[in-house]
């Protein structure tokens, strides 16, 4: 039992789909030679299937037993969901005392529980699958005592499950490792059991469910036509709902072959409030991307570019549309060897119009020689720090330009005011279109007005010319009179 199988996950939420199956087969002693062998004449088999997430989520229900009626005749368990079994068991325990039939049950009893001492530690959560091969379990304890009992005291430990959180995510360590062969167990009674545990791991990571398949010769290509309905609710009177969405396209100008990721958040100015479940100061991160030497299409010079293409989405409501929200970015490199986070650059940009923005980034460098050496050789901090909005640069440091971030931003605005303006224009057009008589009358009146205006302008010009000619004639007369007097 010194081996351990480990299964790695990205986050605790992925354990929702983890299915663990423990099967225990009773074997005749005649075929037990002390080696782990598969039962050739297995007479009966008991199996237990549960979902790990349910134990993690609720601490009060971490200890449970399987329905005794199904175990009594050593029959295969009906494949129900674990929650139904637990619910029925707890209901049975709380409503009525254990029946005499349960007391006479034959075969092992499964107990899945956790060590309460280790549960207090954040970094390691341990659970145990236990079996008691005696017939007395459950006869002397009621449901509350059973739930509060320490699982290690109630039976033989079949499986130890340790959920360890490290810097790469979560690691489920199963002791022993049942991936190769089953193990034999000798119970307190004369029976010997062969136990096997299989952990079905449908997904490798939680959000981005990824797998590592071999290339296939066949790939079915199909195109599907999809439709969707977006319900667009009107905002309140006097408010403008602004939706800002887009993508963090790429980061340019950072060192080559370095994995980068971008932390981003948005800060709302006065009069703006964020809609939805997302908190204002919630830290959003892109996935890590390796910066590679690449010449973009149409560019003459190759640059170090890390592609992200990461979408973001913010919903605001505002009464002061003249102010604009700002998006803040922070480019971070995570060093796997030293497990340190290096902040490479920070920057921000106001978001007002739809465009492809190039956000210039700056890097803060300390002025002190020792601090610079420390940053050069030791690097960043052990923990990932978020973005501090409006942070001033300390007096003992200065900034240098460091790369840029290409962000595609699009802005949608929605308001009742816009709707009323559009309705006004629509009603005017509809009125003109519906009444053709009115339309012709208006057109005639406008054309007559234009004609009259043109005639008036022409008359003014003619009058002006006449006046000009009269003035010029008078000037010529005066000049001729002056000549005569001379």
């Amino acid at each position: 039992m010194s081996y351990a199988g480990s299964y790695r996950f990205a986050s605790i939420g992925q354990l929702d789909e983890l299915v663990m199956r423990v099967s225990l087969t009773r074997q005749s002693t005649a075929f037990n030679f002390g080696h782990p062998i598969l039962p050739s004449n297995a007479s009966d088999e008991l199996s237990l299937e549960f979902r790990w997430q349910e134990h993690i989520a609720r601490a009060t229900n971490r200890l449970f037993t399987i329905n005794q009626e199904q175990l009594s005749n050593n029959l295969n368990l009906v494949k129900k969901s674990f929650s139904d079994r637990r619910r029925s068991f707890l209901a049975d325990c709380s409503k009525r005392p254990r029946s005499s039939r349960d007391e006479k049950s034959v075969g092992p009893q499964y107990v899945v529980g956790s060590n309460p001492e280790r549960l207090l530690l954040k970094k390691c959560v341990s659970m145990f699958v236990l079996a008691d091969f005696t017939k007395k379990i459950g006869t002397e304890t009621d449901s509350e005592n059973l739930l509060d009992a320490t699982p290690l005291d109630t039976g033989h430990v079949l499986v130890e499950l340790h959920l360890i959180e490290d810097s790469y995510g979560f690691q489920l360590r199963v002791i022993p490792d049942f991936s190769d062969e089953p193990y034999t167990l000798r119970g307190n009674s004369e029976n010997t059991y062969i136990m096997s545990v299989t952990v079905k791991k449908p997904n490798v990571l939680q959000d981005l469910q990824i797998s590592f398949p071999r290339p296939t010769n066949e790939k079915s290509v199909f195109l599907s036509k999809k439709m969707a309905e977006m319900s667009i609710a009107q905002p309140k009177e006097g408010q403008i709902r602004t939706t800002i969405f887009g993508e963090i396209v790429s980061a340019v100008g950072f060192p080559k072959n370095k994995s980068l990721f971008v932390l981003y958040t948005a800060s709302s100015p006065h009069g703006w409030s964020l809609l939805g479940k997302r908190a204002e100061d919630e830290l959003n991160a892109t996935f890590s991307s390796i910066s590679l030497r690449y010449r973009p299409p149409g560019a003459a010079i190759a640059k170090n570019i890390a592609h992200f293409g990461h979408p973001f989405h913010f919903n605001y409501t505002t009464t002061e549309p003249e102010n604009l929200p700002r998006m803040h970015f922070k480019v971070v490199h995570f060093d796997v060897n030293t497990e340190r986070y290096h902040t490479l650059a920070t920057g921000s940009a106001s978001v007002g119009e739809s465009n492809l923005a190039r956000v210039p980034l700056v890097r803060t460098i300390p002025k002190g020689f020792v601090e610079r050496l420390r940053e050069r050789f030791i690097g960043g901090s052990k923990c990932l720090t978020g973005i501090v909005v409006g942070q001033k640069i300390a007096s003992d440091s200065y900034t240098v330009p460091e790369g840029e971030l290409i962000v595609r931003v699009q802005v949608l605005r929605q308001s009742r005011k816009y709707r009323l303006e559009d309705l006004l224009i629509e009603s005017q057009l509809r009125l003109l279109k519906s009444s053709g008589q009115t339309l012709s009358t208006v057109q005639v009146a406008l054309s007559a007005f234009q004609e009259a205006r043109l005639k008036m302008i022409q008359a003014r010009q003619e009058q002006k010319q006449i006046v000009d000619t009269e003035v010029s004639n008078q000037e010529t007369r005066q000049r001729s009179a002056q000549r005569r007097t001379r």
Partner: protein
Amino acid sequence: MAELHLIGQIESFEVQETGRGSASFYCDYRLVFDWPRIVFEVWKTDSLNRSEIFGYGVAHLPCKAGFHNLTVPVWRPVGCNAEEVQRQFLGGGYEITNFDALAAGTERYKLLTSGTGVIRLGISIILRNLSKFGVRTS
């Protein structure tokens, strides 16, 4: 009901990553709805007629009506060194099976990716009846 009509074509895929031998590429795409964004899967078919994933790309559709040239960066998940060597010689690689999670998540930086190229799109957007809901695109 507001409508958005998308008409266009995938113009080209420019490969950034240099692989072994000659290969051909083709794209799968689908739309994800909120404000609609288009998700690409770029597949690579090598000389042995084996298909494998070559990258993914995500882009929101423009909210302005008219013709747009879009450039969508394409990336693929990267494994450890042994897996990369395996991928280099035997093919295969990590695949993403759930695209809906691309829009949210905080611990995503633990997924390491590498850029593989750029998809160039030429699309036309027709918007209809958005003004009925008081929506204006800037």
